[in-house]
Subunit: 192 residues, 2 copies
């Protein structure tokens, strides 16, 4: 059983820290202590902090969208697809012993402190998600699983904002239980 290499360990730890504390609340010192190496050694793998962040965002986005595409392409009903999609955010919040937000939710909140390439990455992730949500909603409207007033694109944005933003709010109030309740309420609103 091959043990995780240092580079991957750094990414794992950095991701966990950012999901809990934010980009500006996380430091190379935090990472070094959790991984068990010295600060300087991190620079061997990621010379600048932005290099680390780019690698982190790419990895997260690839993994996440791959799962989402699997859900969209599955033979599940439209309702189950949407529930599974929301479930991705729910399980993020529940993972570990601390409340973790989506990596992109944290970066979105701190957007104004990020450098240009990172800003575009965040924007692109949001765009990719609302687009896939719109596909799921359209399918559900056509097969009669969903029913709601208003526009599909607006509804997709609303759901994405609710999921990304709602998990930040949930960490303050009811935690994962409160977040689950919010998602159930959302499903009530769009079902027939």
């Amino acid at each position: 059983m091959k043990q995780t290499d240092t580079k991957t360990q750094i990414l794992d730890v950095a991701q966990d820290l950012i999901q809990r504390l934010g980009v500006n609340g996380m430091s190379y010192k935090d990472i070094s202590e959790a991984v068990g190496i010295r600060k300087a050694s991190i620079h061997t793998h990621f010379p600048k902090k932005d290099d680390l962040l780019v690698a982190l965002l790419d990895r997260y986005s690839d993994r996440f969208l791959r799962i989402v595409d699997g859900i969209v392409a599955s033979s599940d009903t439209s309702e189950v697809k949407l529930r599974r999609y929301c479930g991705l955010f729910e399980s993020t919040l529940s993972s570990g012993n601390q409340d973790k937000a989506c990596l992109y939710a944290m970066l979105g909140a701190e957007l104004a402190t990020l450098n240009h390439p990172l800003v575009e990455e965040v924007r692109s992730f949001y765009q990719a998600n609302t687009q896939r949500l719109a596909v799921m909603l359209n399918a559900g409207l056509e097969d009669g699983s969903f029913q709601f007033n208003g526009d599909v694109e607006a509804m997709a944005s609303l759901i994405f904002g609710l999921l990304e933003g709602g998990m930040l709010v949930a960490r303050v109030q009811g935690g994962s239980a409160g977040f689950h309740q919010t998602i159930e309420q959302l499903m009530q609103l769009i079902k027939c």
Copy 2:
């Protein structure tokens, strides 16, 4: 015409910075440059950073909830009341030349980096808002302005999460135009 005293200027500038950059993205240096005094002088008014943050949160919460209570107590229809409530978040996002989030949305996102007294302040603000939202929703259900499936408390949490979180997401994508569209879509979902 009395000019604003230094203490108020510090609060105003600090609030603007946090709404744009977050607590961990704002510094005494930023404040001193914007106000036009030296870093050390800020400590005369607010010895520790937490003192400044507490004063900031108190002032913001007092002002905000006072307006909300005014809306709730008004003679407006339930729909207008809810629209005016959502409008508070909309005008926050549009104010100034930069996208500003609700002060409490930023602190909520960075909650895990805050000290105990501040954490409780954030929690209390969220609680106060969802409680007032529930009152507005109940009134609307009774007079027939609103209609939706599910629980009132869950709906209040959903709306608050959508507003606080949605404005963070909106700054990444469509800005205040996108946020406005999201609020319109929300109104569509709960109207008869």
